[in-house]
Amino acid sequence: MTTTPQAVRRASPRTRRPATPVAPEPTAGLLPQAEPVRLLDPDGTPLPPRADLPAPPVEALREMYRRMVVGRRFDAQATALTKQGRLAVYPSSRGQEACQVGAVLALRDDDWVFPTYRESMALTARGIDPVEVLTLLRGDGHCGYDPTVVRTAPQCTPLATQCVHAAGLAYGESYQGRDTVALAFIGDGATSEGDFHEGLNFAAVFKAPVVYFVQNNKYAISVPLSRQTAAPSLAYKGVGYGVPSEQVDGNDPVAVLAVLTRAVAHARAGHGPYLVEAHTYRMEAHTNADDASRYRDPDEVEAWRDRDPVARLEAYLRGRGELDDAAVAQVAAEAEEYAADLRTRMNAQPVVDPLSLFDHVFAEPTPQLVEQREMVRAELAADAEGDA
């Protein structure tokens, strides 16, 4: 790595100022549009194309549809597995399929994703084995996949802490001459956490290629958005850090993919971070352990059913002649197969080795850990003898 100091350019004292200086608007390009970007009506009817926002290629949208359908089936299966006691808990992202799938489709395989616990669908859409994704929730480990192989950080439970990791990783990658982009998922509630702000600020100051993707699903467990912020929209939080921002209809798959594709391109081109807020809705409770009827009006939930992102994309693709009954049935069959395979594999009881408790605390165990490992080993041996 070279550390050549940047040449310092000084303006010649004789340089003339323009006769009529025009100060650029300091917030130019930073503020989001007043209304969320939308490219499809809720019924799938396309809205007029926008010059500033190229529409995604139709092949990408067909693939998006496929992954959204499979993703929704995965989500339903994971919920069912929780009811069967196979998972300790499951935070569903039903209703957020356009966001979950759009985010990973906007990235290259070698980009990095920093997910939260609600991104199980996004991770499976990224191609990570669903059994590995659910390891955390099944309880046989904290992270079932190898983050270095799938370029995906462990699902993050401490809110917003991943925002600064994404900034650091993205800066580190560009520092080492690689054009990797990092995308950090975050929810509306977590934008109140300090690490969201520190992440945005570090990424902006160091021009780190990060996309911060807020899925504003309107509730942080039970607390509504009005208790998180008085800002006109969460996308307005970018301007204070000098980060260009956009808001998008998070249930409009075409708009989500278009806006995120533009954000990723911005970051990859070396312009620094980008903040996207997607307006969406968590159709299920926070997790299976939550009772959303205590804080949400059923009419509100019903209203969001009419904005279903999967039906919307299906209608759009059918309208363009890119999807027919046979193709829809084929995708549905694939989703069923995916769920059946997951069911089968999740029904096998995972094997856990008690002595693995002492692995990977440090690169090499301390003498104290060696001692404790021996104690547990002896306990297990005594138990086994007692059972015999």
Binding site: P5, P147, H165, A167, A182, G194
Partner: protein
Amino acid sequence: MATMTMAKALNAALADAMLDDERVLVFGEDVGQLGGVFRITDGLQARFGDKRCFDTPLAEAGIVGFAVGLAMSGLRPVVEMQFDAFAYPAFEQIASHVAKLRNRTRGALSVPMVIRVPYAGGIGGVEHHCDSSEAYYAHTPGLKVVTPATVEDAYSLLREAIADPDPVVFLEPKKLYFASADAQLPARTAPFGRAVVRRPGTDATLVAYGPAVPVALEAAEAAREEGWDLEVVDVRTIVPFDDATVTASVRRTGRCLVVTEAQGFAGVGAEIAARVQERCFHALHAPVLRVAGLDIPYPAPMLEHIHLPGVDRVLDTVARLQWDDRPDPRWLAQGSAA
């Protein structure tokens, strides 16, 4: 052999590590052009450029979280927390991510990094500048916790910390920064996990680390006049802890006093006392005693000398190590209520 300060040795360790390994990045608050408020990073930016030694926004959680990401990308961050108490905003990052990433990912991801923390008191600092925060870190599995008491150890332990595959919280005793000693750099002292006998003795063992080591050594010198020959063990690395050296010393002397500057309740000194008692019970002629800071928020500068364990308090406590085979009168007076 040259006379130098601990601050200079730490600076040399950073420079040598940056020279040897281009993945090493040094950053934090005021560490660039200024060279840090204690000048530990002095000259590094001029020598290595502002891509390798740089200032950050004033946000400790951000600094440590940024370092997590950098370490994930294959770099070796060395971050400075400006003062002990200023590191608290970073505690979530340290406890939930730095300490756990290796374990959470079954070894797939590790985040080797060094978090340098100027710590402890004795410099007349105003509030929030003098905390002994070692117990918070030592209580967090996955962190190595290191604190030098000598100039050569400062160099050697910091080099080892930067090369270590695990995250290291490197606690620098502020009051020792500008204490000088003869040192030959690059020094290579005992590795992590090894305590060192700083002064051999036969009658009792004083166990200390960081800022308490010079206090223990001074007390041991003064104790000669009382007829006690005291051994002083410098723990050096709180994690991993060297039970072997400490217990070997106590078994030899039969008496143990743990000296820490930190407040005593639920502290590292309590852990050491418990470990010694568990391992040396039959060799002990007296209960293991502790001399620690008082269980109070760090006091205002004009009262810190009462808070900090000094030679007199150490010697008074040594006197209670049952030299004439009678129980400590304090315990008798308190009866069963004790």
